[in-house]
């Protein structure tokens, strides 16, 4: 496995920085069932980090631990070199960790524009009273945020559906709007839970392109879960492989591809 303690340079010449987030000996237990068993790994600044594994391996659980939806039974989460105290999901979001969901969690009755505007919630500072009175400052703030949101809409090429309630959009576009909402928060770490699940080839290619562009243009650190091995190997810098709640591999796509345990988990082993 490649030594990555000081950061490294990728094959396509991007500089990867120091550790942004570190998971230390995470164990997650629901009653008697262990969803995650003693997993440690790190996510470096500027990196695209993938978590892969068969169904039920605990990938989504891991993402939920990072985003604060689950509290690990044992283990520590370190962010920006500091141990993170136990937090509510909305507090994690306020720290600059944005996410998307496997089954799309958009505000279905609201327009694309409004959905993405909610992504800027953590960056709006004016208080309740000023907001309610719609005083100058609140109004100015609103239009500044609106400008940023319009840039994201341009970036994701969804200008045509700005005013459409997202419940009416086809699946692929909904996924894109959800990505837009996460991006609107200008996150330090972006978590994507199966961003390409259920998409056709063309939609997958679009989404891959957006993910790479986000990483490239904004320098956003991305951690993603994905089923499609081909996509993962093309996109990511380093990959964690999970199986039955345990980590069975960690490294560059090439290292992981040649790891015997990983091959066994994906292709099955002969039992005698």
């Amino acid at each position: 496995m490649k030594d990555t303690t000081e950061g490294y340079v990728t094959a396509d010449g991007r500089q990867i920085g120091g550790v942004l987030m570190e998971m230390k000996n995470i164990t997650l237990q629901f009653g008697g069932v262990k969803a995650i068993t003693d997993i440690s790994f790190d996510i470096r600044e500027g990196e695209i980090r993938a978590i892969i594994g068969p169904n039920g391996a605990g990938k989504s659980s891991m993402l939920n631990v990072i985003s604060g939806f689950y509290v690990p039974t044992v283990g520590e989460v370190w962010f920006h070199g500091k141990k993170r105290p136990q937090m509510k999901p909305y507090q994690v979001a306020q720290q600059g960790i944005a996410r998307t969901f496997q089954n799309i969690a958009l505000f279905k009755g609201m327009s694309t524009l409004d959905n993405i505007m909610t992504g800027r919630m953590t960056m709006m500072n004016t208080n309740l009273v000023t907001q309610a009175m719609w005083w100058g400052k609140a109004q100015r703030e609103e239009s500044e945020h609106r400008e940023k949101v319009e840039k994201i809409i341009d970036f994701l090429e969804i200008q045509a559906i700005r005013k459409t309630p997202v419940g009416r959009l086809p699946y692929g576009l909904q996924k894109r709007v959800e990505l837009g909402r996460a991006l609107a928060a200008e996150p330090k770490l972006l978590l994507l839970d199966e961003p390409m699940a259920g998409m056709n080839v063309e939609e997958k290619e679009d989404m891959s392109r957006f993910i790479l562009d986000v990483n490239d243009e904004f320098g956003t650190t991305i951690a993603l879960i994905e089923h499609d091995m081909g996509v993962v190997m093309d996109l990511s810098d380093r990959v964690v492989v999970m199986d039955y709640g345990k980590k069975i591999g960690d490294g560059t796509p090439d290292e992981v591809r040649n790891n015997q345990e990983v091959i066994d988990a994906y292709l099955g082993v002969e039992h005698d």
């Binding site: 985003s67 939806f69 979001a93 969690a105 505000f107």
Partner: protein
Amino acid sequence: MSDNLIFAMEVTLNGLMAGVLYALVALGFVLIYKASGIFNFAQGVMALFAAMTLVGIQKGQVPFSHLINAILGTEFHYFGWTMHSFLAIALTVVVMIGLALAVQQLIFRHLVGQEPIILFMATIGLAYLLEGLADLMWGSEIKTLNVCLTGDTCLPQGLNATIDSITYNIFGYGFFIDNLDITATVVAAILVAALVAFSQYTKQGRAMRAVADDHQAALSVGISLKFIWVLVWSIAGFVALVAGIMWGAKSGVQFSLSLIALKALPVLMLGGFTSIPGAIVGGLIIGVGEKVFEFAIGPMVGGATENWFAYVLALIFLVFRPQGLFGEKIIERV
């Protein structure tokens, strides 16, 4: 113009204004239902509680005086002040916000993720709890409520003389329109405009709509559900206060006030549970329908149609348009 037509116009006008009062109560339901999916059976009692608190503070009544006197053996009923209406209203708003906090912390925080029917049952419990609390705090006698802005400009009572004389000059018959109803209409219009603007154009308003739509997604963009729920219950408490003032000034602050909530149900079925404009239009339709029906059909069936007309109308709506006039069409992609 025929007499009947003129009467019908007067009846319609009166109906519209009665409708505004229904709409005020329905509005409180819609706010809470939209943001938390809770059908708040206690909304009517909240209006009663708010009105009683307002009167109590205004007249310097000692809260829980019966209880205190029974325990301590004192005779302490009044602080001996008459408070200015503005200050009393402000204090009542503070009490309603406190109530919102208590409701969230003591009840609904523990019921997150429960079935809607369980949340509904909790609000029924809350309704009786509040009714008892109001009784214990302020006593059960009927009180008169008069809200005054300055010295002697109070909420106007009695019939409007201007409308009376104008209509007399035009039709040769003066309309009976309550001054209070006119005020209520203006206040309701301002309230609704403010609420719509708040929910459409502010950060907190957007957060409210977001929470109403999807809890998980709201959390993921950094919205605190607890804060939003307290905010929503506070606003609903404020709307209840406005409704309580209007109804209280009209018919006295008494326990039957909590029953006006029942009239809000058909209003909601008509307007849709999730739409603020729906609550208004629904209220107006019920108000006008009730009065006109009573006027036109009432005499043929022996009167008293106002008691059931609204519910029958709501039933018919349930059959043909279950989501109400303005309810969100359920969009489901297959």
